[in-house]
């Protein structure tokens, strides 16, 4: 029977992985993601999940193990956080180039400067151009759902791509919330067994995975992945429609709007801080400020058209950057560059700026959202933004 439990993001993810009946799991400890492996290890030990549980020697080995297992036709799961995500970096592109639907959970952790346990999206965002699907969850519920949705999308024969399923460390991974779990029968209806087709290691049909190619074939490999990403949006929409129908959810595939319809100023963000931003928007509404927000669900593929449509309703938009791109075109984060590119072809564009916030695991308190809202209101009044980036809480 469908049931409701109180689960952290890691525990919710583990429930999804169990219900997806994965064949091979490869772990290596690093907090905060490790809690998912603790849960899965217990499930395998207790006979609740029939999976091969492999301890990798490190994150690079983790990805190598699931790379091979996926090539052999297994449904696989691995995960990491922070510097673990960057240590495994070499294997990301071969896995997407090999068109293997590996799933990796990332519970964000700041990269070492020299040591920080807090959540920041830079770890995962650094890998956004490796040909993997990528998106964030705001709650343990959304984390649970995203794992199942991503397996189905990634394993679709029209797609065959690996997936980074991300959730903020601590804010989602370690704070428990109510999670509605479907019946196993519902999951089985939604997510069929993985069928690798001919794309599988088989001693009866020997083949080579990942051979050397010539430089003049490299562009063609890239085009293969490029075409897969072009084919992705309708598949994601179809899969999420199916998920909503079978599980009784109401996800919008690309962006989720909150009080956006008559709003003048808006926040654009993804992941855990969206929860605080909703409260800030409600309080701002109580004060008579026409505020709203738009939450992003997928960074790859980036939904340019949907972002443009959602943000064109606002007069000014503040992009909350929870990752860093030092020296980039926006002088701070990553998302504003993508947002501005998405808006470029609109006849009337909203004013846009960005706020570096929630970095290194810092919370974004309500006061900081009010301060950002004031900057946006000032921009509307002046008809222009003062600058492309503010460091929230660190300047006036």
């Amino acid at each position: 029977m469908a049931k409701e439990l109180t689960l952290s993001g890691c525990a919710a993810a583990a429930q999804a992985i169990k219900m997806a009946k994965v064949d091979v799991i490869c772990s290596y400890p690093i907090r905060p993601y490790t809690a998912v492996m603790m849960e899965l290890a217990k499930m395998v030990n207790d006979g609740e999940l029939d999976a091969e549980f492999v301890h990798g020697e490190g994150e690079h080995a983790q990805l190598a193990v699931v790379y091979g297992a996926s090539a052999a036709g297994a449904r696989v799961f691995t995960g990491s956080a922070g510097v673990g995500v960057t240590y495994a970096f070499e294997n990301y592109s071969p896995i997407s180039g090999g068109r293997l639907p590996v799933q990796m959970m990332i519970a964000d952790r700041a990269l070492d400067p020299p040591g920080d346990f807090g959540s920041e999206h830079t770890d995962a965002m650094s890998a956004r151009d490796q040909g993997w699907i990528m998106g964030w969850a705001e709650t343990p519920q959304e984390a649970f759902d995203n794992h199942l949705i991503n397996y189905r999308v990634g394993e679709d024969r029209r797609v065959m791509l690996p997936q980074f399923v991300c959730q903020d460390g601590y804010f989602v991974s370690h704070i428990a919330a109510k999670v509605k779990l479907p019946d196993q029968a519902q999951v089985d209806e939604f997510l069929p067994e993985y069928d690798p087709g001919d794309h599988v290691l088989d001693p009866k049909k020997p083949c080579s995975h990942g051979p050397q190619i010539r430089p003049d074939q490299g562009a063609i490999m890239d085009l293969q992945r490029g075409e897969a990403f072009l084919a992705l949006p309708p598949v994601i929409e179809e899969v999420i429609d199916d998920y909503n129908r079978i599980m009784g959810r109401s996800y919008s595939p690309w962006v989720e709007e909150f009080m956006a319809d008559d709003a003048e100023i808006g926040f654009f963000l993804m992941g855990a801080h969206t929860a605080t931003a909703r409260h800030a928007v409600r309080h701002l509404r109580d004060q008579g400020v026409k505020a709203g927000l738009v939450k992003l669900r997928f960074v790859r593929p980036w939904p340019s058209q949907q972002v443009a449509e959602a943000l064109s309703k606002f007069k000014a938009v503040g992009v909350i950057e929870t990752s860093t791109s030092y020296g980039g075109s926006m002088r701070g984060g990553n998302l504003l560059a993508e947002v501005r590119a998405s808006l470029y072809d609109l006849p009337r564009r909203p004013l846009t700026t960005s706020f570096m916030a929630g970095l290194g695991g810092d919370v974004i308190p309500l006061q900081e959202f009010y301060w950002m809202a004031q900057k946006l209101a000032d921009a509307v009044k002046a008809g222009k933004v003062e600058k492309p980036v503010y460091w929230a809480g660190l300047e006036h």
Partner: protein
């Protein structure tokens, strides 16, 4: 629609049928700057080149009388020249050969 030249096509996910002795779909010896040249008079078939070549480009010929070089996969690393026990192998500049790979419009 994209127009992919046949000779540059890559199979899905770059998964190729397993090669028997060579991988004809992925010929990679097109970037060497030097190539090894053998003086068969000096060669005593010690097999160092066969053992050390990282791309298996040195093999005994069918009659097992001499070692032969496979140009299609040689990257010009010259490990063989270094390991040759009788100085039968020496390096030569690729551009000095009429079939030098860097000269070719298309590799092989």
């Amino acid at each position: 629609m994209f127009d992919i030249p046949k000779d540059r096509a890559v199979p899905f996910g770059c998964v190729t049928p397993a090669p028997d002795t060579e991988q004809p779909m992925m010929i990679t010896g097109n970037w060497r700057e030097y190539r090894p040249v053998i003086d068969q008079e000096k060669c005593n078939l010690c097999m160092n080149c066969v053992a050390f070549c990282p791309d298996a480009c040195w093999q005994l010929d069918g009659a097992e009388e001499e070692v032969v070089w496979n140009a299609k996969y040689c990257k010009g690393c010259l490990v063989c020249v270094n390991e040759c026990s009788t100085e039968a192998l020496s390096k030569a500049y690729e551009l000095d050969f009429p079939d030098g790979v860097v000269r070719l419009e298309k590799p092989f």
